[in-house]
């Protein structure tokens, strides 16, 4: 590896290998991390980034090779010791105790005590308020975490890491559930931390963001280092992508696709009253339509009511939802998920681990979960039919797996997402509702998912896609709905939409 001008490293991984039941997740990986820099690690899902971070932060204690911290070889006995030595990690999966408050989560295990030895809630709340203000997170320290949206929870997690005042801060896809504004704020904080000499290890799939914030790059692929470079004028996103995936990404053509003009779905006056009463509506009087073969993008900030709109359509929360829904011109009554499925809808939810898949169940079970009638003969599961159905969707979606009997939690994020999509395609929907279909999947799989969505639309399916990534919305959608504060604030055609217009509509009615 070339000699960097940056000077001394704060932590180094030397020739690290890590094996999981016969498979090497990391092979001979070396990595240098410099203080006062944003050290970016890039790579597809399953490339070994998270494994490497777990070794640096003491989660995994058994590995080959050595970790050198401040010039000395160290072996952490666990996360507690790593944390004490100044290494904090913000995990990709949220690690918060849902029933505890924001303050309790931030101070978990390090609660300040009063002189009498009781928890000092006053100080806890005071410091929490300072931390959340730094992050522009407008929540009361006494709010239980489960009441917060994913993006807000992510900020709580970041606040917890900030409070540790570590010398090394590992961020594993910190912006994956943040809005653009929240991300900007995070970058500001990262810059301040850099000035203080904190070494940031930054993992992300978002290339634009990395070009914006990273000082140097290390790319991993299949558990090996495939390249590293300091950021400079001549590095463009394509270089990074090539290091990550070892191939060039074909950008999507921007042609306006001719969509069938036949109306597939019409929604009028959709209202979703908030069970928690404040704000009064989660979806406020929304009307729109969807044609056959159309991809309808839904944009907006976190909490604007996009996911709620999909859930309302899909028959969840039917006690709080009103409005008229027409499928192919006929009014349908949707009071349950079963009703929605019968009406030809399918919903691929935002969080595949919590809402989408049965993680401990095998691929076959997950794939066929919604379509029992397709795999049974006289009420009994027919293994041959089941395998046929699984094989069909494995080939169609190019799912990479070793066996259909493999539990889904052993697949990479991208392949899990494909299984989730397969599960819903298997029941033959006419209308596909996608909520953040490419969240937390790597660039290669992302491209594949785009192709799948395109193909489905070409086949006549109507698709509603909620996404927080503007480039994704702009390149995929035929029309774009923009939500702000529970209302539909703009409907843009593909050729008239740009980032500026969307952001304007997404913030138009915010106080």
């Amino acid at each position: 590896m070339e000699n960097r001008a940056a000077g001394k490293t704060v932590i180094e991984a030397r020739n690290i290998s890590k094996e999981f039941s016969g498979n090497y997740a990391l092979t001979d990986v070396s990595l240098k991390i410099y203080p006062g820099k944003v050290n970016a690690i890039v790579g597809e899902n399953g490339a070994g980034k998270s494994t490497l971070m777990k070794i640096l932060s003491g989660v995994y204690t058994g590995y080959q090779g050595e970790v050198v911290y401040n010039g000395r070889t160290v072996t952490f006995s666990g996360t507690a010791e790593a944390q004490e030595s100044g290494i904090a990690i913000i995990h990709q999966e949220l690690n918060l105790v849902q029933n505890m408050t924001v303050a309790e989560n931030i101070f978990l295990g390090r609660e300040p005590l009063t002189r009498l030895g009781f928890t000092d809630y006053g100080r806890m709340h005071e410091i929490t308020r300072e931390l959340t203000q730094r992050l522009h997170l407008d929540v009361d320290p006494a709010t239980p975490v489960f009441q917060l949206r994913t993006g807000q929870q992510q900020l709580v997690e970041i606040a917890r890491a900030l409070h540790l005042e570590s010398s090394i801060l590992i961020m594993d896809e910190p912006t994956s559930s943040l809005s653009e504004n929240e991300s900007e704020l995070l970058f500001m904080i990262i810059r301040k931390l850099k000035e203080k000499g904190v070494a940031i290890i930054y993992i992300s799939h978002k290339i634009e963001e990395l070009l914006h914030i990273a000082d140097n790059f290390t790319a991993l692929r299949d558990g090996r280092v495939t390249g590293s470079m300091d950021i400079g004028e001549d590095i463009v996103s394509d270089d990074i992508i090539r290091m990550m995936v070892g191939r060039d990404i074909i950008s999507r053509d921007k042609d306006v696709r001719a969509t069938d003009s036949k109306e597939l779905l019409k929604v009028t006056d959709l209202v979703f009253r908030n069970p928690k009463l404040k704000p009064p509506y989660l979806v406020n009087n929304v009307s729109f339509s969807l044609n056959r073969g159309e991809i309808l993008g839904v944009s907006g900030l976190m909490g604007a009511g996009r996911s709620e709109m999909l859930e309302a359509l899909f028959g969840l929360h039917s006690d709080y939802v009103s409005g008229n829904i027409f499928v192919e011109g006929k009014p349908v009554n949707i009071n349950s998920v079963q009703d929605a499925i019968r009406a030809g809808m399918a919903l691929v939810p935002e969080d595949r681990q919590l809402q989408g898949l049965i993680m401990a169940m095998n691929v076959a079970g997950n794939t066929t979960l919604v379509s029992p009638e397709k795999i049974t003969s006289a009420g009994f599961i027919n293994r041959k039919k089941e395998m046929q159905l699984c094989r069909r969707f494995r080939d169609k979606l190019n799912i990479r797996l070793s066996s259909f009997d493999q539990p889904v939690d052993t697949l990479s994020g991208g392949n899990q997402q494909k299984v989730l999509i397969a599960k819903w395609l298997a029941c033959g929907p006419k209308i596909l509702l996608l909520d953040e279909p490419t969240r937390g999947v790597d660039i290669g799989a992302k491209q594949e998912i785009y192709n799948i969505i395109d193909e489905l639309a070409l086949g006549g399916m109507g698709i509603i896609m909620v996404s927080s990534e503007l480039p994704e919305i702009l390149s995929m959608s035929d029309r774009i709905l923009v939500f702000s504060a529970s209302q539909l604030t703009a409907t843009l055609k593909r050729d008239e939409a740009d980032e500026e217009k969307i952001m304007k509509a997404a913030t138009v009615n915010l106080k």
Binding site: G22, A340, L354, A360, I381
Partner: protein, 324 residues
């Protein structure tokens, strides 16, 4: 076969291996263990626990628990006994209904299903945690048993009642036939019916199951109903074997049953496990009980040993699933 696949296979068959080791040790320690007679003895002894544990497995697969099985067993055994011996009479209306053996058994099983269904209803409709709902049923059903029997055993039946618990068919004890049929039915349900998949799905991720259009409520009510019905079957066998319905039958059975499920590798957090695992768990407990009795170990020590075995089984299980 390299060491790795050997290890994987060892893990897969750990319960069977544990069972074999127990059998070998016991047969070395006492002559009375490895005999045909004692083997049937063990099988007959475990059949009631096994039948009840099959229902418990289904409940635990949905991440629930049923503490009421012991009391439901007692009540349904008593109901069958009462119907058979005295029939149902309404003195005021001058109505008397006599029951055949088949009718009395049907009545007992229906009662068990009803109690289980009620458990499920309370858990799903009123969102009472399964632990609490079935704990309440444990007391309620025991109280009803006392009311039904007046606190005294119902003893002495005519006809073929005794055959169910003590009879032999084709050289195999009847309770073993019944247990085998229950196990076979449950294996088919869990492996071959979509409902079985749905039971695993509800326990594995209830939110995802609901979002997939599964009727989570209905699935839960079904498993508790099955658990109640199977407890009733157990009650009828016990009553038949003793020729008597004891008001305090099945006391503490819920613990033996949960132990069989857990030793069999089913996760208390739901979504993972199998009926065949529970069969092995019930066998391990049965062999252990039987062996300790044959070795003249004091009943007090028996309980200690049983507890340690349960702990060991779960610790080994956790250790293995981590190393995977």
């Amino acid at each position: 076969m390299d060491i790795k696949t050997l290890k994987v296979n060892l893990l897969k068959f750990q319960s069977i291996i544990a069972l074999l080791i127990m059998v070998i040790i016991l047969s070395l320690l006492t002559d009375r263990f490895l005999t045909t007679e004692n083997s049937w003895n063990i099988m007959r002894q475990i059949s009631v626990n096994l039948i009840v544990s099959v229902g418990m497995t289904l409940v635990i697969l949905t991440a629930g628990i049923d503490l009421s099985v012991g009391s439901v067993l007692a009540l349904c055994g008593a109901i069958t006994a009462g119907l058979l011996k005295f029939g149902a009479g309404f003195a005021d209306a001058n109505i008397y209904i006599g029951f055949t053996l088949f009718g009395a058994i049907t009545g007992g099983i229906l009662a068990g299903s009803l109690l289980g269904w009620f458990n499920g209803l309370v858990i799903t409709r009123f969102r009472v945690p399964p632990f609490v709902a079935t704990l309440a049923m444990l007391t309620i059903a025991r109280g009803l048993t006392m009311l039904w029997t007046g606190g005294f055993p119902i003893t002495g039946f005519e006809g073929n009642m005794a055959f169910i618990g003590t009879g032999w068919l084709l050289g195999i004890p009847m309770p073993v036939w019944i247990a085998a049929a229950v196990v076979a039915g449950a294996v088919v349900l869990t492996k071959k019916k979509p409902l079985g998949r749905h039971i695993y799905a509800v326990g594995g991720n209830e939110k995802a199951a609901a979002l997939s259009g599964l009727n989570v409520r209905r699935i839960k009510i079904i498993v508790y109903t099955i658990a109640g019905a199977l407890a009733a079957v157990g009650g009828i066998i016990v009553t038949s074997r003793l020729d008597s319905a004891q008001p305090n039958a099945g006391m503490g059975l819920e613990l033996d049953s949960i132990a069989a499920v857990v030793i069999g590798g089913t996760s208390l957090s739901g979504g993972k496990g199998s009926i065949m695992g529970t069969v092995q768990g019930a066998l391990i407990i049965g062999v252990l009980n039987n062996g300790l009795v044959l070795l003249n170990v004091s009943p007090f020590w028996q309980q200690v040993v049983k507890g340690v075995v349960i702990l060991l089984a779960v610790v080994i299980e956790k250790f293995n699933s981590r190393s995977e």
